[in-house]
Amino acid sequence: MDDKTKVVERERLDLDEQLRGADFDLRLPATVPRKPFPIEPLTVDARQQTRAVGQRATRPDGRLHGLGQTKYIDDLSFPGMLHARIKRAGIASARIKRIDTSAAEAMPGVLAVLTGKEIPVNSFGPSLQDQPVLVDEFVFHAGDGVAAVAAVTEQIANEALEKIVVEYEPLPAVLDPVAAMRDDSPKVHAPNSNIYASKMIRKGDVEKGFAESDHIFEDRYSTQMIEHVSLEPHAAIADWDANGRLTIWATIGRITLARGDMARTLKLPMSRIRIIGTVVGGNFGGKNEITQEPALALLSKKAGRPVKGVFTRVEEFTSTTTRHPIIMDYKTGVSKEGRILARQIRLVLDGGAYCSWSETTLGKACILAPGPYKIDNVVSEAFVVYTNKTMTGAMRGFGAPQVCFAYESQMDDIAKALGMDPLEIRLLNAFDEGSPSPTGQVLHSVVVKETLNKAADRFGWREPRS
Amino acid sequence: MKAFGYVEAKDVAHAVALLAEHGGKAKVLAGGTDLLVEIKHAVHNPELIVDISQLRELKVIAVADDGLHIGALATHGEIMSSPVIQTMFPALVEAAHSIGAMQTRNLGTLGGNLITCVPSMDSGPALMALEALVTIAGADGERQMPLAELFVGPRRTSLKPGDLLIDIVIPKKNLDKPAAFEKFGLRKGQALALVNVGAAFFVDKGNFREPRIALGAVAPTVMRAPKAEAFLDGRKIGAEAMAEAGRLAATEAKPIDDFRASAGYRRDLIAVLTKRALENAYALANTLAGKKVSEPVS
């Protein structure tokens, strides 16, 4: 840099920066600043209390986040590390006729290319193992991966993806969960039925309850597909040592399960796999299972180098799990005083292309669907169906936000029809300590009424409205 | 991003010369908030980037004999904080403020927003309602034309390869014309417009004079609403007239159905936003006139 430029630069500095510049140790090889030390105390009181529970203790990791020092996966780098990218199908349902990776493999800078056929056990999933790491015969949804590349730079990896030729024979796609339940619907995972799990809760006698009711309310509600949008995309690094031991650094909230899935897909003993969960930049249920990790491991093995894979934001939407859309039919019988006497519920969950955490979501939605209310007569049944869309899985609430939207919307309509205050009808029906749940469980530490009253007091619900 | 060449233009002449030399294979980098996204998504694969982002002479905001000049490289942030624009055209401040977020407003430029030429651009409607002119530098020198003539279609302008938008001028006759900007998006922060509206008119003895209404996101380009304008011109200012102008504007627009909204909903919004823009322009007129509202609009 010439002297003239330096003068210009100096003028731009504020005092603070000049002082820091003066402190600059010229021997440092890079711009990375020396770490703050000695650190000022963390908020002393809370973290030093010896009655630790109940304290508003600050988080030690919060300091590192604020300094930009937390090492997320993309902040880690190893000598010789390669960058992986995955080619996405972009078609919702198809048979793969041919995959030609030769042009990509011939590119300078490309060290490994992988297709689904090379994966020892090409399926995984927390309950049903129906999800291929990379699809090999059929495409089940547009976000499926068909091939993976590891190259010395991400730019080269991206260009290599364009050189991979995949020929598809398009197949009919089923996108609507209700249509998917019909016998004549195309089967996502043929020849199996698209309905891949169901659940039933039955208590009392709903028909008798409806007969005794003064009013019957019947409504249908539906919710949408939602993405977790963790700010940190799914990311992982795979590396092997000369003893054939695999280490995976990954954005995964469940390392024990991840190790099991890695062992299964790669046919490796668990003792030869190490999963290190780094600080995860947001999970919300979206990072509870493996995604690209087996592919990265195999690319790393082929190339003999560590391999990093970071999903793009687009892949975060197209190729990771999402929240289940649910179609919810509610039939509720109430007395003229506003007591719920019977409730019949039918839920259809759109499961997308793979099961993932659908069974859990189905179960929780089905059990929670009647709401936090004392109801003697309940039928709640739920079905989850495959469609050729992005798979739905775990997301904050496992079906509960959806059914809560339904039962609480209907509750207000019931209150309105009966001329009751929405708060009062809830207090009338809400669980008490010892109330039986829809599955017959005797509930303990029940405070639903306390939360109703507390929120109402805070809001000023009972004060005259302006 | 794929590989490309990069040249930092020393001045406008240098930029124009580079563009003349490389034609359609070159792309101009002003703020980069649209261009770099489009290159990342492989919408464009330019061979050369001509970086004009540091040309300070294209950032000048000043009143001259022929009107208010806003340099094409003035960022949305600079427009928001310009005392001249704040005083004269709060509608332009509002339009700039409604774009993206602080970080993108500090990068994105007025010229870039106009040249990208997406139908939902937020810079277009208010400027079009103020009958802004644009100055183009090309191989044959500079020329000026109405802003409306710049827009040809979605992402298509009338600029020829080698042309560079350098200046936006609000003509002298409109320097004291009250103008308003209204926008409706799917959220409050970082929203793209479902509909946006610019409106401007003079108050002449309680009547509309030279009303101008421009609509965004409801046609292939930002468009004027001539029927609504003709309806208002010379008419007594009042709430019903404003509402009727809104209804007329809604019939003139050619909105489309897409995943963001239906055409019908966009028409509903045009009617409401046009009415509100007229109301706000009138309120501003009264403020500027320094007098109390003689005729409340509702």
Partner: protein, 338 residues
């Protein structure tokens, strides 16, 4: 015109997996200076779970949060854990750590009992000391006990434990059973303004009262509630992954997938309804997921209160709301006899 409305929604939500095992194991090592290291297989994914787990270990050992370091998320070094899922970390992993800490503490008590001349059953750990219950004047610093235990007696104070929530399988016919060990409850109330010309909803404020048993760290509980509500706001009004007729994604980016920005979020007032669940660590249950559960319902009930329309499919976009308002007006017009 803007019309104001308010809406309430309450909910219940279970902690842990549905019937199936979701164990946690933990190791607590008391260092020879009386500080402690906790090993857990769970992963910090932003909630602050490691801080909460440190607080649980500290409480059990009578030391401060700062005295505890938590090592997590490494299959080579940390014991198995079902992970950061199902709002289970505080409750299940917390119980495992609490039990492990009790086991480690028992070793300290064996060392301390002869030092203090009492039985182990007479001891408690408090304020960084091992002391005699109801006679705190007789005490010895926990560091001294830990040092003696490890260096002099060769009995390092290390405890390990695991815990799994007790459940009863559901009957396959009727679904009757005890699927979860415990549940939490919550109510949220939203106040909104609805623009009846555009259908736009502005959320003015949300009051949230949440039960989590004992709040191990109220600041982190509030953080969960506030964040969960932002997801609920997105679910209520904005967010939706859209597909074209061929099943391809239409809006796989943050420009067109509309999630709440800071300008879209209302002020949130959080109340923690303090409870005590005897099955949880120091009475704690959990709070992560339930925070996102009642928000959409409360907002849509407020919209109904404001403009009298019931939106039954989410998200309730401004277009859906305006369409419903227009349909309601049309129906009302029909009812007026000519």
């Amino acid at each position: 015109m803007k019309r104001r409305g308010r809406g309430v929604a309450c909910m219940w939500y279970p902690i842990g997996f549905t019937v199936s095992a979701n164990a946690s194991a933990a190791v607590v090592k008391i260092n020879e200076d009386g500080t402690a290291t906790v090993l857990t297989g769970t992963v910090e994914t932003g909630q602050g779970s490691l801080t909460v787990l440190a607080q649980i270990a500290a409480e059990a050992l009578g030391i401060a949060t700062d005295d505890v370091h938590v090592v997590s998320a490494d299959t080579d070094t940390t014991p198995m854990d079902t992970g950061a899922i199902a709002s289970r970390t505080t409750y299940v992993t917390g119980n495992a750590i609490w039990l492990a800490a009790e086991a480690a503490k028992a070793i300290l008590f064996e060392t301390a009992a002869p030092m203090l001349g009492v039985k182990t059953s007479q001891l408690e750990a408090k304020d960084r000391k091992i002391q005699v219950k109801n006679y705190p004047q007789r005490a010895v610093a926990i560091g001294e006990v830990a040092h003696r235990s490890q260096i002099v007696l060769g009995q390092p104070a290390i405890g390990s434990a695991s815990w799994n929530p007790p459940t009863v399988a559901l009957d396959p016919e009727t679904g009757q059973g005890k699927p979860f060990a415990t549940y939490v409850y919550a109510t949220q109330i939203a106040e909104v303004d609805v623009d009846d010309e555009t259908g736009e909803v502005e959320i003015l404020r949300i009051c949230a009262a949440h039960d989590c048993g004992t709040a191990i760290n109220p600041m982190l509980v509030e953080g969960q509630v506030e964040g969960g509500i932002s997801m609920g706001v997105g679910m209520a009004l904005q967010e939706e992954m859209l597909f074209d007729a061929k099943g391809r994604h239409v809006n796989p980016n943050l420009t067109n997938y509309i999630m709440p920005t800071s300008l879209d979020m209302p002020p949130i007032e959080v109340d923690i309804v303090q409870g005590f669940d005897p099955t949880g660590p120091f009475g704690a249950k959990g709070v992560g997921e339930p925070t996102a559960v009642p928000t959409a319902a409360a907002i849509l009930n407020a919209v109904h209160d404001a403009v009298g329309v019931r939106i039954t499919s989410l998200p309730a976009t401004s277009e859906k709301i305006l369409t419903a308002i227009k349909a309601k007006r049309a129906a009302e017009m029909k009812q007026i006899p000519a």
